[in-house]
């Protein structure tokens, strides 16, 4: 059990996709103009990550190291395409909101990163837990960056959330600062860099205060996307 707790700790904080591994930054910076958009991207990424991790972990025995990369790419691209087609055909209202994000997941290195470094070496259960941990870790950063930009840029939080989650969640839509015209910079791309930068600063500050043993292996950034 403590093993799973460790996986969750890694995914949600220590080795977070966006703030630790510094992966998946293009979808992160591109879509987080509002908290709702961030949540949508988070849900879509979580679903795809879960599917790809499970599939790749189940076939890990037959994949040989020499051709693993093309095989993984083909598998991931197929899952993304199938998810895209299925949602478009059978959950069309959701597709109108999420459609953009699903296509963007193809550009998401985090999916491939987890498949390559974790799912292709671990049993299915561990890979599933890892997908959940990494997916939720990515989701909260997306929502946090989106929320920061939305509050500063338009003075609202979770605007249009009922379009994404259904009318039961209309209570999420709040106006934080009434009659606020917004700081345009927060909505524009530089605002995304700044919001993410602040989040990373906060994370590093907290890590520094934590007992030394947890941050002695602070991430080495090896690849970007």
């Amino acid at each position: 059990m403590s093993q799973f707790r460790q996986i969750f700790r890694e995914g949600l904080w220590d080795n977070n996709v966006a703030m630790g591994q510094m992966l998946a930054l293009c979808p992160l910076l591109a879509v987080t103009t509002s908290a709702t958009n961030g949540l949508g991207m988070g849900i879509a990424s979580l679903a795809v990550l879960l599917l790809t991790n499970i599939i790749i972990s189940s076939v890990r025995g037959v994949i040989s190291p020499q051709v693993r990369i093309p095989v993984l790419i083909v598998l991931i691209a197929t899952v993304v395409t199938l998810v895209d087609m299925t949602i478009n055909a059978f959950m069309h209202d959701l597709y109108k909101v999420l459609g953009l994000f699903i296509a963007l997941i193809v550009t998401n290195c985090a999916i491939f990163g987890r498949a390559e470094s974790y799912a292709s070496k671990q049993p299915v259960l561990n890979a599933t837990i890892d997908a959940l941990a990494m997916g939720f870790g990515f989701m909260w950063v997306l929502v946090a960056v989106g929320g920061m930009r939305e509050i500063l840029g338009s003075g609202t939080l979770f605007a249009n959330a009922s379009l994404l989650l259904g009318s039961h969640f209309a209570w999420l839509e709040t106006t934080v600062i009434p009659d606020f015209s917004g700081i345009l910079l927060a909505i524009l791309p530089p605002g995304a860099f700044m919001a993410l930068g602040f989040l990373i600063v906060i994370k590093r500050l907290i890590d520094r205060r934590l007992p030394q043993k947890t941050n002695n292996d602070l991430v080495t950034i090896s690849s970007h996307c």
């Binding site: 025995g61 040989s64 190291p65 051709v67 087609m85 478009n88 055909a89």
Partner: protein, 226 residues
Amino acid sequence: MISFDIQQHKEKPIYQALLLGGACAVVSLLLILGNHTTTQAIEDHRTADKLAMLAQVLPQSYYTNDPLNETRELNHQALSAPATLMLAKKDGVVSAAAVQLSIAGWGGIINMIMALRPDGELLGVRIISHTETPGLADKIEMEKSDWITGFDGKSLDNVSEKGWQVKKDGGEFDQFTGATITPRAVVKGVHTGLLMYRRWAESEEGLKTLAGQASQNAENTPEAAS
């Protein structure tokens, strides 16, 4: 042991080839299957979306035909892709037309649809999709601002050639604070749509198609042709 066997063969080139080929074959099969089961549903949704989009500018009460199947292609040098003219007919007579076109905005392509009466007067304009700056130029959306309704009732006859510009350029239409290029593009798109419609209405094919209404609406037809 099977897994042991696999381990033994994994290093051989033929294994790599078969693995890659096999993976691609399985994946292709899945995609064909997926595509086969979803194509029809996706197509239906697309048609429904188009009709819903059309209904925003053209109430269902205007037509009894299927405007999505009564289309013409319109071209103009200001547009990078041909525009689509849809004809709404009631009892075989053209009751309204819709023009869907795309024009370059500031951040990308602005896709819009406009509905006109047969005489060329605008019933309404809506933006279908755009990639303009949020919070600044997205006031072209109906949900954000009623700016777009400023086109209602306008035509080439009641707005002069020079008037089809934003106020900054000496025209009739408002720009937004901090965003001129987007409204300028929308105004240009609407103007181009009207010009293309007029050209079509004056063409041989257009005159013939619109002729059905000439008997009913005798005063309007010369105006449309003027």
